[in-house]
């Protein structure tokens, strides 16, 4: 950074609205406010813990130990990060068009089932061919599911928030039906599942790590989504349509195709999360797919302000909280819902902080000199 700093000639230049400090100030608003909201949410949760007679200091030190304290806990955290990255994209991409899609859980579940079903047909197929086929099937299932939400929104005016959540419930019922009926492996007695994936179809771990390749896929997906939104005409058109549909239509932008494309792409990412859950974690599709990643993904996307690059650190942080959940239960005698309560407090704090944008002169260089 210091290399690119222009020579400082006087105080007036530093405060100029075109200077680097002004650019930094403008950009930092979107980081500082969510970060402070996160701290406020954690502070509120600390008060909640104190009211329960538990020590917040103990809590956060256990979270640090369980989520980030050792290479083992880092591996646990990063394994949980992979589905969260993809699930958060399912919220962040439609959000560019002003749509609040919260049914990513359904796409995850169906992506996983599609992966398990296709794997059953690929018994003798080598992994180089089979794994991309499974991934394509899962992504397609997710894309159809969430793309349908976008299509219903565009063609019928159906509220996308409610429709996506209803479809998530329908997806879980469909999964239960398929896994306990047509796709059930007769050998799975206690927990109905699809047939276990053949060995060559399993997605392995990164070399030298106990973290599967889904993490890399998730990070690549986040970067690709960022490029799509920030560096292509498609992303630009989506932002215009998200700001004002009428204006976008007047400009001749294909609003319908944008809506369906962005929702379907988000659904494809969530479906991919299901594929990795099956191919790298569970080994077969079963009810464990509905593990709540889709709902944590909503919070991550809002915390990251729907910026795909910001999703990466936020997802790691929340995965760390989830990874330490077991340790919190054992060490502090708190129920497993503690992490849900924490997420709820942070979510409420982040939404309250929306009201603060544009209120601070610090972030608005144009108003620095009028003081």
């Amino acid at each position: 950074m210091a290399m690119t700093t222009p020579p400082i000639t006087g105080a007036r230049d530093i405060l100029s609205p075109d200077g680097w400090l002004a650019a930094l100030a403008r950009r930092s608003e979107a980081v500082v406010i969510p970060f402070c909201a996160l701290l406020a949410g954690l502070a509120a949760f600390s008060l909640f813990l104190l009211m329960q007679g538990k020590s917040p200091a103990d809590f956060y030190s256990i979270v640090y130990m369980g989520g980030f304290g050792s290479s083992f806990s880092w591996q646990n955290t990063l394994s949980r990060t992979a589905p969260l990255l993809l699930a958060a994209l399912c919220v962040a991409l439609p959000a560019r068009l002003g749509l609040v899609v919260i049914g990513g859980e359904g796409a995850i579940v169906l992506g996983g089932v599609a992966c398990g079903a296709v794997a059953g047909l690929l018994i003798g197929v080598p992994g180089v061919l089979g794994i991309p086929l499974m991934a394509a099937a899962g992504a397609l299932a997710g894309a159809v599911w969430i793309g349908a939400v976008g299509a219903l929104r565009h063609y019928r005016g159906v509220n996308e928030t409610i429709a996506s959540l209803l479809l998530a419930y329908i997806a879980i019922a469909l999964m239960n039906h398929l896994v306990e009926g047509p796709l059930r492996d007769p050998a799975s007695l206690n927990k109905p599942s699809t047939a276990p994936l053949a060995e060559q179809l399993r997605v392995g771990d990164l070399p030298g790590w106990n973290v599967h390749w889904g993490l890399i896929a998730g990070i690549v997906a986040c970067i690709a989504a960022w490029v799509l939104i920030e560096r292509t005409t498609w992303g630009f058109a989506a932002r215009i349509a998200g700001g004002n549909v009428r204006a976008a239509q007047v400009q001749g932008l294909p609003v319908g195709r944008l809506i369906i494309g962005f929702t379907a792409l988000g659904g494809a990412f969530a479906g991919l999360a299901g594929v990795f859950e099956v191919a790298a974690v569970h080994g077969s599709a079963n009810a464990s797919l509905a593990g709540g990643y889709g709902y944590t993904g909503i919070l991550i996307a809002f915390l990251a302000r729907h910026n795909p690059l910001a999703i990466i650190p936020v997802a790691i942080l929340l995965a760390g909280f989830e990874a330490s959940s077991g340790l919190i239960q054992r060490r502090m005698d708190l129920p497993d819902a503690t992490v849900l309560v924490l997420q709820g407090f942070v979510f409420v704090a982040i939404l309250c902080s929306e009201t603060l944008y544009g209120r601070f002169r610090l972030f608005a260089p144009e108003r620095w000199r009028t003081a």
């Binding site: 019928r156 159906v158 509220n159 019922a173 919070l299 849900l340």
Partner: protein, 307 residues
């Protein structure tokens, strides 16, 4: 006696199921009508429903009185509604997103505090038997009507009358239809919306208490599976009219009773698909009643969901 009925058992079981299952739909949708008529949408009623179920069950267990549980659930629901209303009164805060956050928070808090109450047995709410005229045990079972269902009917009529004929109802409708008109009349839209959301939350809390105190009649973490959310969709279907809410709730209750009814006569294939019937019905109703071009008839003008 039981074997004589044959397939007639399905409609009888669905009637009974409709009466039993519809009550939470009815209360949540009445609460949502009250909130949405004031121009705001509360998607968090699913969380309020679950927290109402937990708090109602816990208080009923601790006091030994089911009605104390209902009261506690109503108070907790009102507090959640108040929180939603206050947050949404901040400028530039999206009421749909706040609803999602409060849904997750409500469920998290309910699971957190509800852990010790999964095992104990709390007293049930009383019900009245309207099936005394019949010899058939199925009909008698179907017509065991809970008192809360009757209270729900009274509340639906009372709300309808309130919107139609009272000053309070008029004030809520003005605020819901035009913020500017309400301001011009000297009303405070944020205050009225917050109060309407709090009252709506109280209704949803009572609906939750019904779940844990009558049907299914126990507290566990899977007690609600989207009823709160379906009720929000039901309000659109019912065109923001409390009386239509009652009929819609009966319809949704019958759809929800389809799976258990078929199971009771021995149909077991596609069991999970029948359980999806209420969600499919809700979605179908949303698709049929929404429109991309024209505003919905009866919709409050300031409602973000229909704009």
């Amino acid at each position: 006696m039981e074997s004589d009925l044959g397939l007639w058992a399905i409609p009888i079981a669905m009637l009974g199921g409709a009466i039993r299952v519809s009550t939470p739909f009815l209360f949540v949708s009445l609460g949502e009508v009250l909130t949405e008529r004031s121009g705001r949408i509360n998607l968090g009623l699913e969380g309020t429903l679950v927290f109402g179920a937990m708090s109602g069950y816990a208080v009923a267990f601790l006091t030994g009185n089911a009605w104390a549980g209902v009261g506690a659930a109503a108070i907790c629901g009102a507090l959640f509604g108040l929180l939603h209303g206050l947050i949404c009164s901040l400028p530039r805060v999206n009421d749909i997103a706040v609803g999602i956050a409060l849904m997750l928070l409500g469920m998290g808090l309910a699971f957190f505090f509800g852990k010790p109450f999964i095992q104990p047995v709390a007293p049930d709410l009383p019900s009245i038997s309207f099936g005394w005229w019949s010899d058939l045990p199925q009909v008698r079972a179907a017509l065991q009507v809970n008192v809360l269902f009757l209270i729900g009917i009274v509340a639906a009529v009372a709300l309808w009358w309130m919107f139609r004929a009272t000053k309070v109802g008029l004030v809520i409708r003005v605020v819901g239809d035009s913020t500017d008109a309400a301001r011009a009349m000297g009303l405070s839209p944020p205050l009225i919306r917050t109060l309407a959301t709090a009252a709506g939350g109280a209704f949803a809390g009572v609906g939750g208490a019904y779940l844990s105190l009558f049907y299914p009649g126990s507290w566990n973490e899977g007690i609600s599976s989207g009823q709160g959310l379906m009720a929000v969709a039901l309000v659109i279907f019912a065109r923001w009219n409390p009386i239509y809410c009652f009929w819609a709730a009966i319809l949704f209750g019958a759809a929800g009773a389809l799976g258990p009814a078929l199971q009771s006569v021995g149909v077991s294939t596609g069991y999970y698909l029948f359980y999806a019937a209420p969600y499919v019905l809700t979605l179908g109703v949303l698709i049929a009643t929404s429109s991309p071009t024209r505003a919905m008839t009866g919709a409050p003008g300031e409602l973000s969901i229909t704009k």
